[in-house]
């Protein structure tokens, strides 16, 4: 009997496994949502303000690590080599800024949303409104990217139509975000963190052992190959890359200025992302906010230090599997991914072999960044359940981030717009209904983008960070560390920052305002790195305008003095 069922498990195909594992995880998420549904606006916005640092750390990590971190990042690094470090350092280094410069003070301030801080600190509904617009802009560009990830996984692994996939994903998110609010999302994200980290680590460890004999991927990719040749894996990959005409893997090809600018833009952008900042409103004390930032980065670092190892394994495996091999001998995964259009092969010299080269005229193979993590277990011929696990992990990553973003969108509308600006007399119950309704609308919009992805979505996701860097980061930093900063300065700074970022993005990404190519970039900085310039502009404009306008009122200056002291944080409140 036992032997029979084991035999059955071993013979189950990828698709069956995927249905089983994905179905199981989805059931868990829905169960948690029902169990933790929100009863008050405080539950809905900040999970009642009583989440433990560890749970908050795990939820933050899941919130933070999106489909981009799970699916795309290792793939991007795989093709970019050293240059991929901009994402690794950018997305983790921003966390240090968040933990040291923002989280403790925003927790002490004790409000529900980021526009709330901006509006109160700068004693102005105009500032609050600018804050709401920035939050919506950042969150919508970001959430659209998550939907693409969900659709991708569904279409490849469950072989359903992408649209059906997006609808299923949306329904799940809708269910637990609308029902549970921040409280439901927090505990679902804890579960999603466990799923996604397990799903990322298992294949990485398997492949690390396969290739280098070292079970720790972080060390494995700096180790020697297990074929007994004594060659270091990285040296081999450098050699292979050079042979095919690519730049050496460990050297990269971007200019130092651009690497610097992109890293900085991603760092400050990360620190300015509203859906991550808001997580620190959910813990009890300032002390807990600090600690949970540390725990969150530790949990994030597990994936972020493994990703570059996965990149090296995947790249080496890919080259060895395809380079100069006959097309007819390609394994099953190759053909399956061809169906999704993410691998394309054109036999230019008609020799029946795959030439994978840096030279665009001779290269015959195009591999999309996004499939490296998803296809990696298949390329390495790991068991079917591991492949299914990766599908469940990428869904966990995409859904957790989408839910966090949807909450920011709904809170911005129901709390910042309706409660604070349009109808201050709205009842607690009315606000909760408004919050749920705006979540429903936001999910609808996100689903629309998932089903009809406008061509610019992929391009704008990376730029969401630039937008956050250009708008929120300077306004919040100055609000905490510069008592004299007033509303005139902050508003002018945010407006100039975000419009210059949008201008640069439209000009060089979409060809507006005369367009332009790589050679026309200002100071050689790419649109992805321009957030750094826009942020500096924001700082300069804020300070310059402030010098010519009156100091903020006495009570606001007192607020600033008060948020600098950790004790007496109280709970996140309404007024």
């Amino acid at each position: 009997m036992m032997a029979n069922s084991i035999l059955l498990l071993a013979s189950m195909d990828v698709q069956t496994w995927t249905y089983v594992i994905v179905g199981l995880t989805f059931t868990i998420y829905i169960g948690i949502a029902i169990w933790t549904r929100a009863a008050s606006t405080k539950d809905f916005y900040v999970a009642g303000g009583g989440v433990s640092p560890l749970a908050n750390g795990m939820a933050t990590a899941a919130d933070w690590m999106s489909a981009a971190s799970f699916i795309s990042m290792a793939g991007i690094i795989s093709f970019a080599g050293y240059d991929g470090a901009v994402y690794l350092m950018g997305w983790t280094g921003g966390y240090v800024l968040l933990a040291l410069l923002l989280a403790p003070y925003l927790r002490k301030f004790g409000k529900f949303t980021v526009p709330d801080f901006i509006g109160d600190r700068y004693y102005s509904n105009t500032a609050r409104f600018v804050g709401v617009i920035c939050a919506l802009l950042v969150s919508f560009t970001y959430v659209a990217g998550q939907m693409r990830g969900v659709g991708l996984v569904f279409s490849r692994f469950l072989e359903v139509d992408i649209n059906t996939g997006v609808m299923i994903g949306m329904f799940i998110v809708l269910f637990y975000a609308v029902l549970g609010g921040m409280k439901g999302i927090t505990y679902t994200q804890v579960a999603q963190y466990c799923v996604l980290i397990f799903a990322f680590m298992v294949p990485a460890i398997f492949i690390s052992i396969q290739m280098t004999g070292n079970p720790i991927p972080q060390l494995g990719f700096g180790d020697t190959l297990s074929d007994g040749s004594g060659t270091y894996l990285l040296d081999k990959l450098d050699g292979l890359s050079a042979e095919l005409g690519f730049s050496e893997y460990t050297e990269g090809s971007k200019s130092m200025t651009d690497v610097f600018a992109i890293t900085l833009a991603l760092m400050v952008g990360t620190a300015g992302l509203p859906h991550v900042i808001v997580r620190f409103f959910t813990v009890k004390r300032v002390k807990d906010a600090r600690k949970s930032a540390g725990l969150a980065l530790l949990l994030i670092a597990i994936l972020y230090t493994t990703a570059p190892a996965v990149s090296v394994f995947a790249r080496t495996n890919l080259i060895e599997t395809v380079s100069n091999k006959p097309y007819d001998s390609m394994p099953e995964w190759f053909k399956k991914w061809e169906l999704t259009g993410l691998i394309t092969f054109t036999d230019k010299n008609e020799d029946g072999n795959i030439q994978y080269l840096a030279d665009k005229d001779k290269n015959e193979l195009v591999v999309d960044n996004d499939i490296m993590v998803l296809a990696n277990p298949e390329i390495a011929r790991l068991p079917n359940w591991v492949i299914a696990l990766v599908a469940a992990g990428s869904l966990a990553a995409a859904l957790s981030t989408a839910a966090g973003l949807l909450l920011v969108i709904s809170a911005s509308v129901s709390h910042d717009l309706i409660k604070k600006m349009v109808n201050p007399n709205i009842s607690e119950k009315g606000e909760l209904i408004a919050a749920r309704l705006s979540a429903v609308v936001a999910v609808g919009v996100a689903a629309y983008f998932g089903i009809h992805p406008p061509g610019f979505v992929a391009a704008t996701v990376a730029l969401a960070f630039g937008l956050a860097a250009a708008s929120f980061f300077p306004a919040i930093i100055l609000g905490i560390f510069y008592k004299r900063m007033n509303k005139e300065g902050a508003i002018a700074g945010m407006v100039v920052g975000i419009s210059s970022m949008i201008f640069y993005m439209l000009k060089f990404k979409f060809g507006w305002f005369g367009g332009g190519g790589k050679d026309d970039w200002w100071f050689g900085i790419s649109p992805e790195g321009f957030g750094t310039v826009a942020m500096v502009l924001n700082f300069i404009v804020s300070i310059a305008i402030m010098k010519f306008t009156p100091a903020p009122p006495e009570d606001v200056q007192e607020i600033v003095e008060n948020i600098r002291i950790p004790s007496g944080a109280g709970e996140a409140t309404h007024h």
């Binding site: 991929g84 690794l88 350092m89 700096g222 180790d223 002390k287 972020y304 600098r564 004790s567």
Partner: protein
């Protein structure tokens, strides 16, 4: 709590931030980007050191930095009597 107490607390806090962020800058922008080529001459097993800092080392140090900050601030809170509720 008195105003001068709060000021002294804030000054020490700022000092910690400067030191920690200096290290943050050195390991990422310094070792990982600006001095990468020089550091790549040194090897750590299969890793070139500059490459290692950019893709591994800086992240480890970021984690350590936050936990050091948590410790320092908890001590500072105690010293100035801000550790109560």
């Amino acid at each position: 709590m008195s105003k001068s107490n709060a000021k002294a607390y804030w000054r020490e806090n700022i000092k910690y931030l400067f030191i920690l962020l200096a290290i943050w800058f050195l390991v990422s922008y310094g070792a990982g980007i600006l001095f990468k080529d020089a550091l790549n001459e040194i090897r750590l097993g299969g890793f070139k050191l500059g490459f290692w800092f950019a893709q591994q080392g800086s992240i480890y140090i970021f984690v350590i930095l936050i936990f050091v900050y948590v410790r320092l601030m908890n001590k500072l809170d105690k010293k100035y009597g801000y550790d109560g509720e």
